[in-house]
């Protein structure tokens, strides 16, 4: 199948998009973060200290995360926020600590360890309250991720001027929204970004998880206008123009989960002048990860550590 790099999304940013999210953030700001950091000796080793982290987010939902830092380092360090894929369990980010970063791997609401107060399940998360932007699942899910930045800022070992964000698939989409909404983010690397071009994607591919929306619309065709209206507020493409930090995006041209066309459309809308797209032909949803990992390492080393890696 040939993929057009000129593909453009049908997504239109709502006129009151900024007001909507400003209101959400106002509500979130009234909720104390109440961070808790618990050492996890079982997952710690000679070179990496691991902690279980908890903080409070929108609607007072308690969010879990894994937190790793290089052992026995007294100085402030650059930090990486990692966002999880749709159905993956958030990883313990030891390898980032081994590269010299403090790393937070967030489990937004509904993920394992963050599901006591909210658990729509999988499949279902993608369409949970999809007709109402004020209660749609991703309203809280996005804020949970963004609040990870607040947790990092609360830590004395974090250099607040050197925070990056990364993830792939849903983590790629969350990277986009976090980079857009949090000016503290200095560099972002998004892989196979999901949650970008929802309504385009459900026509371009018929695989889960996007297929959840097709299932929903097949059952409730009359609700399509409300679904489209809601998703425009949550589409990464609507957020993209607000990104000003350096950013790299990698996509697989044979991606069977996130249509690569939506990656091109997203990249076109990203506001940053320092942006680079890496399309990998012959690759699927892993988006060339085996080759691209070195690119990401060099990118963050340059922007967050002031180092050049060959």
């Amino acid at each position: 199948m040939t993929v057009s790099a000129e593909y453009r999304s049908k997504v239109r940013k709502p006129d009151d998009f900024d007001a909507f999210w400003a209101d959400v953030l106002r509500q979130a700001a009234t909720v104390p973060l109440a961070p808790e950091i618990v050492p996890d000796p079982l997952r710690s080793s000679e070179d990496v200290e691991t902690f279980q982290v908890f903080y409070t987010s929108l609607e007072h939902v308690r969010i879990a995360a894994w937190y790793c830092r290089p052992a026995r380092r007294a100085e402030r360090m650059p930090a990486i926020l990692l966002s999880p894929g749709y159905q993956m369990d958030p990883p313990i980010p030891k390898e980032w600590a081994r590269k010299g970063y403090v790393a937070l791997s967030v489990a937004p609401r509904g993920k394992l360890r963050s599901l006591g107060q909210f658990n729509p399940g999988y499949p279902n998360l993608l369409t949970h309250n999809i007709v109402d932007r004020h209660t749609y699942a991703y309203r809280g899910f996005y804020v949970d991720t963004w609040r990870g930045i607040d947790f990092l800022l609360s830590r004395p070992e974090v250099d607040a001027s050197q925070i990056g964000v990364t993830g792939s698939s849903q983590g790629g989409g969350l990277t986009i929204t976090t980079a857009a909404m949090r000016p503290e983010v200095r560099a972002a690397a998004a892989g196979a970004p999901y949650l970008c071009g929802f309504m385009d994607a459900i026509e371009l591919t018929h695989t889960y998880p996007y297929e959840e929306i097709n299932d929903y619309l097949r059952r409730h065709p009359d609700r399509r206008p409300e679904v489209e209206e809601t998703l425009a507020y949550f589409d990464g493409i609507s957020f993209a123009d607000a990104i000003s930090c350096p950013i790299i995006v990698n996509i697989g041209l044979q991606d069977n989960v996130v249509p690569p066309e939506t990656g091109y459309a997203l990249f076109d809308r990203i506001g940053s002048r320092d942006k680079q797209l890496y399309p990998y032909d012959g690759h699927g949803h892993e988006a060339g990860r085996f080759r691209h990992t070195a690119v990401v390492d060099r990118f963050f080393a340059r922007h967050l550590q002031g180092a050049e890696i060959r």
């Binding site: 199948m1 993929v3 000796p41 079982l42 997952r43 080793s45 749709y86 159905q87 993956m88 369990d89 990883p91 313990i92 030891k94 390898e95 081994r98 394992l112 360890r113 399940g121 999988y122 499949p123 371009l204 591919t205 018929h206 695989t207 889960y208 998880p209 297929e211 299932d215 929903y216 097949r218 059952r219 697989g252 041209l253 044979q254 991606d255 069977n256 989960v257 249509p259 690569p260 012959g282 690759h283 699927g284 949803h285 892993e286 060339g288 085996f290 080759r291």
Partner: protein, 302 residues
């Protein structure tokens, strides 16, 4: 080295499972049903007794159909079909995906942690959580092979290590697609990686070094090489990329030990190329002539 108690241990497990009636409940799920396939939620009992959940999809039309059994995975989420698989796969195959104990929809009373599952009860083969999970996988295959919609000559079991174990312990699998990840020479290979899930073993032994021998003994009862001679189904082994921990060369002893015809596919470090290979392999062996029509759009040639 296969432990002397291997056969006895697994026979006792199967005997215990046999004493737990499945008590199957099947209910349609209209939201996930289409004009080409009907989806059902399935509840059934496994060893314990423990109540499990699975998704059964049956093509519209006159069967019997070839079947794909997605055995329990090492992840919390239970998928109807794996992420990225064309929904149209359900138009040609009966598919059945099962949550092992601890996974979502089968997480009451036991909710597994990831990481954490791989070492839960690992000090003793009798208490190791994977004894129950393997029994769950066997129960799932027993359920599927008994379905009248399924062509018993075309049943593919797909998954990681647990898929191969299920095919070894009960009849019904004609083909297996296995991606070893957890139980191939685990005690030997875990120290050579820092990546999860095998890092769980390293974490555990770092915290409890005195338990190393009991862990090794438990893992020996789960080693794929010990199961392999019992697998007579035609098998596709999905190896990792050359040079990595579980590449085709490393899996040589497994290949040699398998009791039926074997193909080993070395990963091309592309989920597209590897996935396409597996889809075509299954379709060819199940007599599906138009596999192109049931591939994800971006995998099709045109």
């Amino acid at each position: 080295m296969v432990p002397e108690t291997f056969g006895e241990y697994w026979q006792a497990t199967l005997d215990d499972l046999g004493r737990c009636p499945a008590r199957v409940e099947i209910d349609p799920i209209p939201l996930r049903s289409t004009d080409f396939a009907t989806l059902y939620g399935v509840r059934l009992t496994s060893l314990g007794p423990y109540r499990l959940f699975g998704y059964l999809s049956v093509p519209v039309g006159i069967g019997p159909f070839p079947a794909i059994y997605y055995a329990p995975k090492y992840q919390s989420v239970l998928e109807i079909i794996p992420q990225g698989t064309a929904n149209l796969q359900r138009s040609r195959y009966v598919t059945f995906s099962l949550a092992g104990r601890g996974q979502r929809n089968a997480d009451t009373p036991y909710a597994a942690m990831f990481p954490g599952l791989l070492t839960d009860g690992i000090d003793d083969p009798a208490s190791y959580v994977f004894r129950g999970i393997v029994a769950d996988a066997v129960r799932g295959l027993e359920f599927l092979r008994a379905r009248s919609e399924v062509d018993p000559a075309r049943v593919v079991v797909v998954g990681n290590d647990v898929a191969l174990m299920a095919a070894a312990l009960t009849s019904g699998a004609t083909h297996v697609v296995t991606t070893p990840a957890l139980f191939y020479r685990t005690a030997e290979l875990a120290p050579r990686t820092q990546a999860y899930p095998l890092e769980e073993i390293n974490d555990y032994l770092r915290a409890f070094p005195a338990r190393a021998e009991s862990v090794r003994r438990t893992l020996a009862s789960f080693d794929l090489v010990a199961f392999a001679p019992r697998v007579t189904a035609t098998t596709l082994v999905m190896a990792s990329a050359p040079g990595s921990l579980l590449d085709g060369a490393a899996l040589g002893p497994l290949r040699s030990a398998l009791g039926g015809p074997v193909t080993v596919h070395d990963s091309e470090q592309s989920s597209f190329k590897d996935g396409l290979y597996a889809e075509r392999w299954m379709a060819a062996r199940c007599g599906i002539p138009d596999v192109e029509a049931i591939l994800p759009e971006h995998w099709r040639a045109t």
